[in-house]
Each structure stands twice: as structure tokens, then as C-alpha cells.
């Protein structure tokens, strides 16, 4: 019996090997390693982000079973999910909380790459694909925020799409494209739903595949100071096998993320708010999701006119420049002689975190 089973297993294995070439993949995974140093823990955040993304896909599919993307039905359909569907409130709460946690882990992952110098040659494209994925994550947040069609999300979308309208030359067309008309309304909701469940997931899947392929292609980088330390000792940077050592650590991090997510979703269910009324005044205390609070508060501070330029336009232009500068980090991180501008990069990272967190806190409380 045991021999027969062994033969069957071997025959199935052989059949799969002939068609999929699994041996090469297993061989690759078996030899994949991760550098071991004081910053190794930070490598876990890319995986946690992926884990939270998968949770969102799964809970998003469940929400899709009930959601109706029209201005007359959207709010009521979400209300039905959270009040009538068994565990609907929990599924929606997990979806909302995991999106927020994912944005947080995206930021942690991005800044850990900056401080561990993971963007350096030849990983420029890995950085750029990661930045594009971060942009898509924000796009998911912005488009998903409108879907419950409540007052806060309605005005946040009005502000967000009007910011797009401020872009010189193409702004009006861009805002019209986003809104599906001249103003935020039912057409915007349908459009945002399409972006949220079809366009953005499609783009994310492709970019994620590219990003992960690039990570596999170049391996995981070690910080220059660690490389230098071991070079002086005449040794290689110590490595741990990806499987099982790093993967088990990653699994524990996922458990941790799941625990945090479960606690937040169960104890602090995501509020639904009041149904959007396009003819009601914007309520007091209106603010966007926390990750848009920094630009939101900055726009509050910029005066109506700075010399002859409208403050709003100046703000948009400033954010645009800042984003381009940040995206191009791997290309200005070295000087013309090829030496690393370590202090500049660290300073830029610290300043970005300081600006973003300070203005987000001020935006929340003021």
C-alpha cells in the first residue's frame, strides 16, 4: 500500500513537473535568502501590506454581493449590509480598517526602504513601482471613501476633485473625467465604483507582479553601513533562508496584523454617517481620511492669494513638485561623482515624516 502511494505521488509529481517546471521554482525559493542585521524586522512590512491587500480583496468581494453603486441606493445598500446581513458590519469594518492599516504599512514600508537605502542601484525601478503602488493605494482609499455615499465622503470628494480642477491646462478636463460630469453626483459614484473594483485592482495586480518580480530579480538589499561593516571584516553580510526562517517570521507578523485588525474592526466598527445630500451645507468638522489630512490642512493655511497666484494653485503646484522630487529619490540620492548623499536622503525622509505627521495631527484637531 505504502509503495503504491509512493508511486502515485511520484507519478503526480512527475506529471506536474513536466507541465509546470516546479523544481526550478522550488530550487529558487530554497536558495532565496534575506540579510540579517538590526533592521531586518522592517523587511516584514512589505509582506504585511500584501497580506492586508488580500484581506481587502476578499472582504471587498463579500461587500460587492450587496452593494449598489447609485446615488439613490448606495447608502441604503451599505446600511443594509451593516444592519441586516449576518456579520455584514464586521466585514465592512474589516474592509475599512484594513484599508487604513494598509496605507499605514505602505508608508512604513516606503520609509524603511528610504532609511535602509533599499532604493539604490540597481533597484530604482523597484522603488518607482513601489511608489506607483502607493499612489494606487491612495487611489483605492479616495475612490472607496465615496462609495457609502455619506455626507463626509461626498464633501471630501468635492474637495478632492476640485483640487484636480486646479491643475493648469488639463485640470478642468481631469475633474470632469473624475466626476463623470460638472459636479459630484450619481455619475461620480458609478465612476468611482468602476475605478475601485475594476481599474485600480487591475493596475495593482500588474504593478504588484512587476514589483515582486523586481524584488526577486535583485534580492533584498542590505544597508550600506552593514555592507561596509562586513566588508571591513572580510565577510559577507549574514543571511537567513527565506523558507522557512523568514517566511515563518512573516507569518507571525501576519498573525499580529490580523490580531490588530480584528480588535479594531470588532471594538470600533466603522461608522456609516448620514446619507449625502448635495443640497446640504458642508458640516462642521469635515475632514478627509487621515492620510489626506496633511495636504488638507496645508490648503487651509495657504492664503487666498500669494502675490498674484491663487493660494489653491500654489498648494497644488507645491504638492506636485514635492511628489515628483520624492519619486525621483534614487536619481538624486547620489552626487555626480557617484557618492551617496546620505545626510540629504535621511534629512529628506525625516522632514517628510515630520511634515506629514505634524500637519495630519493639526488637521485632525484644528
Amino acid at each position: 500500500m505504502a509503495t503504491q502511494l509512493k508511486t502515485l505521488k511520484s507519478r503526480i509529481g512527475g506529471w506536474l513537473e513536466e507541465r509546470l517546471g516546479l523544481a526550478a521554482i522550488i530550487e529558487f525559493i530554497a536558495h532565496k535568502t534575506v540579510p540579517v542585521h538590526s533592521g531586518t524586522t522592517w523587511y516584514l512590512f512589505g509582506g504585511i501590506t500584501l497580506f492586508l491587500f488580500v484581506i481587502q480583496v476578499l472582504t471587498g468581494i463579500l461587500l460587492l454581493l450587496y452593494y449598489r453603486p447609485t446615488a439613490t441606493e448606495a447608502f441604503e445598500s451599505v446600511q443594509f449590509v451593516v444592519t441586516r446581513v449576518q456579520f455584514g458590519w464586521l466585514i465592512r469594518s474589516i474592509h475599512s480598517w484594513s484599508s487604513n492599516l494598509m496605507i499605514l504599512t505602505v508608508f512604513i514600508h516606503m520609509f524603511s526602504v528610504v532609511f535602509l537605502r533599499g532604493y539604490r542601484r540597481p533597484r530604482e525601478l523597484t522603488w518607482l513601482s513601489g511608489i506607483a503602488l502607493a499612489g494606487l493605494a491612495l487611489g483605492f482609499g479616495f475612490s472607496g471613501y465615496l462609495l457609502p455615499w455619506n455626507t463626509i465622503s461626498f464633501f471630501a470628494t468635492k474637495v478632492g476633485t476640485d483640487m484636480a480642477a486646479s491643475v493648469p491646462w488639463v485640470g478642468e478636463a481631469l475633474a470632469r473625467f473624475l466626476r463623470g460630469g460638472d459636479d459630484v453626483g450619481g455619475a461620480t459614484l458609478t465612476r468611482f465604483f468602476g475605478f475601485h473594483v475594476a481599474v485600480l485592482p487591475g493596475l495593482t495586480t500588474v504593478l504588484l507582479a512587476i514589483h515582486l518580480a523586481l524584488v526577486q530579480r535583485h534580492g533584498i538589499s542590505s544597508p550600506p553601513r552593514v555592507e561596509e561593516k562586513y566588508r571591513q571584516l572580510g565577510q559577507q553580510v549574514p543571511q537567513m533562508p527565506f523558507t522557512p526562517n523568514f517566511f515563518l517570521r512573516e507569518l507571525m507578523a501576519w498573525y499580529g496584523a490580523l490580531a490588530v485588525l480584528g480588535v479594531l474592526a470588532a471594538l470600533f466598527p466603522w461608522e456609516l454617517g448620514e446619507k449625502a445630500d448635495p443640497f446640504a451645507a458642508a458640516p462642521a468638522g469635515i475632514r478627509p481620511e487621515w492620510y489626506f489630512l496633511a495636504p488638507f490642512y496645508t490648503l487651509k493655511l495657504i492664503p487666498a492669494h500669494v502675490f498674484f497666484v491663487e493660494g489653491e494653485l500654489l498648494g497644488i503646484f507645491g504638492f506636485g513638485l514635492l511628489m515628483v522630487w520624492w519619486c525621483l529619490l534614487p536619481f538624486w540620492a547620489d552626487n555626480r561623482q557617484g557618492r551617496e548623499r546620505t545626510r540629504l536622503v535621511t534629512g529628506a525622509g525625516v522632514l517628510m515624516i515630520a511634515y506629514y505627521s505634524t500637519f495630519s495631527i493639526l488637521g485632525y484637531f484644528k
Binding site: 468635492k158 473625467f177 451645507a281 458642508a282 469635515i286
Partner: protein, 112 residues
């Protein structure tokens, strides 16, 4: 992908309600076609109306009785009762609409 232009019926005036509907020093938003207009009763005999859309980032404004100003909650922009910017980021004044009393009705119309 670009939305086609959908022509809307041009609205030149709307009946905003009865004169007694609004108390002095109060305001309400009224539908003017597809846009909101803020109607304010300044005192017993004076009404004013402005576009309900903030000139900063498109939020809908409201009347604040305590300060007798028009307020946009989104970015804390304030306008006076002439629609002029008092403080905050709005770059332009609010467009004014004409208000007249017809019998017992308040009628809002475009100026000029």
C-alpha cells in the same frame, strides 16, 4: 471615457419659499437648477442670496447666525453678508443673486 455634455434646462429664477418661512438673521440653502443658492434673511425686510458654493474648493457654504457671516466648513473660509471674503483661503467673493418679494413668495433670480 469623457462624459458627454448633457444640456440642462436654463434656470433663471426660482421661488425660494414664503416670506414667513425664514426668521430674521437666518439662512437656508435653496435648489437653483442643479446648484445650491444660500438665501439669507438679514432683518425683517431684507433678504440676500449668494451662490452656495465656496470659491475655494467647491464645498457648500452655510449662514452663521452668531457671527452674521457665511461660512465654509471645509477649509474655514468666511464671507461677509455682501459675499466678500473676510478670512480663510477662498480666492473670490460669492456670486450674488437677486431676491425680490412677489406677493408672499420669495423669488431668487440671476443678476444682470
Amino acid at each position: 471615457m469623457n462624459p458627454p455634455a448633457v444640456p440642462e434646462a436654463t434656470v433663471n429664477e426660482v421661488v425660494a419659499g414664503k416670506t414667513q418661512d425664514l426668521l430674521p438673521n437666518s439662512g437656508k440653502l435653496v435648489k437653483f437648477g442643479s446648484k445650491p443658492v444660500l438665501l439669507i434673511r438679514v432683518n425683517e425686510t431684507e433678504w440676500r442670496a449668494y451662490t452656495g458654493i465656496c470659491t475655494h474648493l467647491n464645498c457648500t457654504v452655510q449662514f452663521q447666525a452668531a457671527s452674521q457671516q457665511i461660512w465654509c466648513a471645509c477649509h474655514n473660509g468666511f464671507y461677509d453678508l455682501n459675499g466678500k471674503v473676510v478670512s480663510g483661503p477662498p480666492p473670490r467673493p460669492l456670486e450674488e443673486f437677486a431676491v425680490r418679494v412677489r406677493g408672499n413668495d420669495l423669488v431668487i433670480s440671476r443678476r444682470g
